[in-house]
């Protein structure tokens, strides 16, 4: 069964005074997916997100969200989306509860229902214990959680998140990603932008890469890896200790094109192999049969970055 299209962008164009921000952008986002939107600085990600959030009117092309035209049915679209901009925008003199309560009331949610919803979103973002604190006193990561909670207050089906992890420390990033995973399980569709592809690699099932206002790739994350390097794959294997028989066995496997030697004092191998001839399972089985003690076996994220580098042009947009 074909997945339902939630966002449909056809030939979207937008020009600012001095430069063309978007030139014929076309892609779609499926329901209940986490769709990454990646591109270097100045690629046009925020412009696209603002168009989707109904803040900017498209100058050319057609954009529909939930089947509604974003220009003609702006109000209907706004009720069903939650937009988190790339800057910290908050009423810092309010407490966390007051802030969420205000937006709940502004969306016309009744008092009783509001209490339940706010309780739920606070629990989801793990902010229930800090609901009476002033926003001004919260850390950046906490403020980002509150911002996400605000986006969820009116229970939108689609979340538009513009670089939500920027400026967060590694722990806060991981925690944010966990919340987004949880939201997907709750049936939300998430459209998330970032200029770091590897950050979204484990989270997103679909990705669109934008560069200089043009779509360079749109499709599944797996497809992105395939387009970058044909049918080969690179995996990182880490053993508990250096084990020459394992590396020899791997090098002898048909389809393996390269096995890099471990670095001094680090039993870590990089394997490049042909997907058509060999599967990761077969590799892992070979390692275990050779007596290697596996610590980790993961696909090389660097390849995603390489794909990104191959698709986007070098230099800064002027």
């Amino acid at each position: 069964m074909e997945a339902e299209t939630l966002i449909d962008i056809q030939n979207l164009g937008h020009r600012y005074k001095t430069h063309q921000a978007l030139g014929g952008v076309t892609f779609a986002v499926q329901r209940q997916s986490i769709h990454g939107f990646v591109g270097p600085n100045g690629a046009g990600k925020t412009t696209t997100l603002k168009v989707l959030a109904t803040l900017l009117k498209p100058q050319s092309g057609k954009v529909s969200v939930f089947g509604h035209d974003i220009v003609a049915d702006r109000k209907a679209v706004r009720r069903r989306i939650g937009f988190m901009p790339d800057h910290f925008s908050m009423y810092r003199q309010m407490t966390v509860f007051e802030y969420l309560d205000f937006f709940g009331a502004a969306y016309g949610i009744g008092l009783g229902e509001r209490d339940k919803i706010i309780g739920d979103v606070l629990a989801l973002t793990d902010m229930a214990g800090r609901k009476d604190e002033l926003i001004n006193g919260l850390s950046r990561g906490m403020q980002q959680r509150v911002s996400l909670a605000r986006v969820l207050v009116h229970d939108p089906d689609l979340l538009l998140l513009d670089e939500p992890a920027s400026g967060l420390d590694p722990r806060a990033r991981i925690e944010l990603m966990e919340i987004l995973e949880e939201l997907r399980r709750l049936g939300k569709t998430i459209f998330i932008s970032s200029h770091i592809l590897s950050e979204l690699a484990t989270l997103c099932d679909h990705v669109t890469i934008l560069d200089r206002g043009e779509v360079k790739y749109t499709g599944t994350m797996r497809g992105l890896v395939a387009t970058s390097d044909g049918l080969t794959a690179t995996y990182q294997l880490t053993l508990a200790a250096e084990h020459p028989p394992t590396s020899d066995a791997l090098a002898r496997l048909p389809g393996v094109s390269r096995v890099t030697a471990p670095l001094p004092n680090e039993a870590r191998y990089s394997l490049t192999f042909d997907r058509a001839q060999l599967s990761p399972n077969a590799i892992l089985r070979t390692v275990l049969e050779a007596g290697g003690e596996v610590v980790s076996f993961t696909e090389d994220v660097k390849q995603l970055n390489q794909a990104f580098m191959d698709l986007t042009e070098p230099g800064v947009r002027t």
Partner: protein
């Protein structure tokens, strides 16, 4: 010039020289002066001293403009660095406090003084219109220049002492109010009470010395017919000395007040809300109209702010209730004072709200969040404006009562004027003036709110200056037109033997001013929400 002491000062001067705004300001000022000149040349044909009238109007306008614009322009010198937490970075470059004070303040003073110098050739034309001499013009410029010097350095002191720009502006405003209004207020104290202090004559001499230090007294003296004094008087010397004292004081206390760490975030736990030092309860749950609730509580002070306004404005009405006091008594003077002060304070109050209503959203970058609500921007603007109207209600009521009192005063004097003017005409004039004052406040609010969309600070001051300049300009132009037609009709009526003045001609001035103001309000009203939508998308 490579001296580190002047590095910041030279950079500021260079920035000013390269900024288009500098030339636009001078160009607009020059154009304004030329239009005023044309207006006066047309309308004061029958006046004995049109040159003096023109020059007086220009210089009083400048003093008002200087006070309002200076409040934000001069007071932000150091305070803006504190607010943006960049003062520490400046200190790290090795700049001394003196270099920072010179760089941040003296360049602004130079800008203001250059503005005065730049208009000198225009105002000197007033001599050709008659009624004023070159000596008087130079003396007035010296007086205004010295006052600018004092004002700039007082603002610098406030900027050093205060943590934030608005606090510095309040400090400067209070200090200026005391300086300019202190002597006249002391004179309101009955002489009997002053003699109780035992040194009546010494106090009087002190008050005279004080009053003569103000630019108001100096302008009165210089602009009087037959002035032949020195261009540099006591006011100039005292203002310069006070200015230097303020600068030295700012330099002395700089380390103490500018090395403090920025205000840290409040500690976790129950958040305190304070209003003039009093601990306040948190606001109640949002009303059904959440936007109205937010701005009423978080922008206008909520019920605490409402109560303060209610008692403050209510207090000003007490003198009106003293029916027994005649016009010549102290209460009579106070009543007359409050008739003009209450509307002025109200206009400042509502204009201050207007300057923050959208600026606070832009500052907190929350306009995008509001724009995402399923409401039109126009609806959002209305809800926010309604919150301000609710908060300003006590002030509006006080103004209405003050106007009512003014009408009753006018009625009591009507009988003496009834011979010269028709009662209907006088009532019409009164109503027009009252309506005109409300339209003026509305225009001020709209202009300030509009300016605040593009100005980080100073929208309130510039709004005042622009609306004041517009009023002066319109009055001049309308009076010029009226002079060309109205006086001729009056002269014709006089020749035909009519005993009463046809006051309908006088009504045209407020009517036309109101009409033009309403057109401007309508334009801003139409464009405002669109501009906000653009800003929400751009932020």
């Amino acid at each position: 010039m490579s001296s580190p002491l002047l590095a910041l000062f030279v950079r500021s001067l260079r920035e000013d020289a390269r900024s288009r705004a500098t030339y636009w300001t001078r160009g607009v000022l020059g154009g304004f002066l030329l239009l005023m000149l044309l207006g006066f040349a047309a309308s004061n044909r029958w006046s004995n001293a049109p040159g003096r009238s023109l020059f007086t109007t220009i210089m009083i306008s400048q003093l008002v403009a200087l006070t309002f614009v200076g409040l934000s322009y001069f007071t932000s010198a150091i305070a803006e660095e504190k607010e943006e937490q960049t003062l520490g970075l400046l200190r790290m470059t090795g700049l001394s406090p003196l270099a920072i004070l010179l760089g941040k303040s003296t360049s602004r003073l130079c800008g203001a003084l250059l503005l005065l110098v730049g208009q000198f050739p225009f105002t000197i034309i007033a001599i050709t219109l008659g009624g004023i001499s070159l000596r008087q013009i130079i003396a007035v410029y010296c007086a205004v220049g010295a006052f600018t010097f004092l004002f700039c350095n007082l603002a610098l002191l406030g900027s050093v002492l205060a943590r934030r720009g608005p606090n510095a502006a309040i400090f400067c405003l209070v200090a200026m109010a005391v300086f300019l209004g202190g002597a006249p207020l002391f004179l309101l104290v009955p002489s009997a009470a002053r003699s109780v202090l035992g040194a009546d004559s010494a106090i009087d001499r002190f008050l005279e010395w004080w009053w003569n230090s103000t630019p108001i007294a100096r302008l009165q003296e210089v602009l009087a017919t037959g002035f032949s004094g020195a261009p540099i008087g006591w006011q100039v010397v005292s203002n310069l000395a006070l200015g230097v004292a303020c600068f030295l004081l700012a330099w002395t206390v700089f380390e103490r007040f500018c090395d403090r760490a920025p205000e840290s975030a409040p500690a976790a736990g129950s958040p305190p809300r304070r209003f003039f030092g009093f601990r306040l309860r948190r606001p109640p749950r949002p009303w059904k109209d959440a936007l109205l609730w937010k701005d009423f509580y978080f922008l206008c002070g909520g019920y605490a702010g409402f109560a303060v306004r209610f008692f403050a404005y209510g207090g000003t009405l007490i003198p009106f209730l003293y029916r027994s006091g005649g016009a010549g008594t102290q209460f009579g003077i106070m009543r007359s004072l409050f008739t003009s002060i209450v509307p002025f304070v109200f206009s400042v109050d509502v204009a201050a709200m207007a300057s923050r209503i959208f600026r606070s959203e832009l500052h907190d970058q929350t306009l995008t969040d509001l724009a995402m609500l399923p409401l039109t921007m126009r609806h959002i603007v209305y809800r926010k404006a309604l919150a301000c109207v609710l908060a300003a209600a006590p002030g509006a009521l006080a103004v209405l009562m003050a106007q009512g009192f003014a009408v009753s005063l006018f009625k009591s004097t009507q009988s003496s004027l009834a011979g010269a003017m028709s009662v209907t005409g006088m009532n019409g004039l009164m109503i027009m003036q009252m309506c005109g004052s409300w339209v003026h406040v509305a225009l001020l609010v709209y202009v300030v709110a509009w300016l605040s969309l593009s100005m980080k600070r100073g929208s309130l001051a510039l709004g005042y200056v622009l609306t004041y300049a517009l009023n002066i300009f319109l009055a001049t132009v309308i009076m010029a037109a009226f002079a060309a037609t109205g006086f001729m009709r009056m002269a014709a009526a006089s020749r035909s033997g009519a005993t009463r003045i046809n006051i309908s001609s006088f009504l045209w001035s407020p009517i036309l001013t109101m009409a033009i103001s309403l057109v401007l309000i309508w334009i801003i009203h139409r464009q405002g929400p669109r501009r906000l939508e653009t800003l929400a998308a751009e932020s």
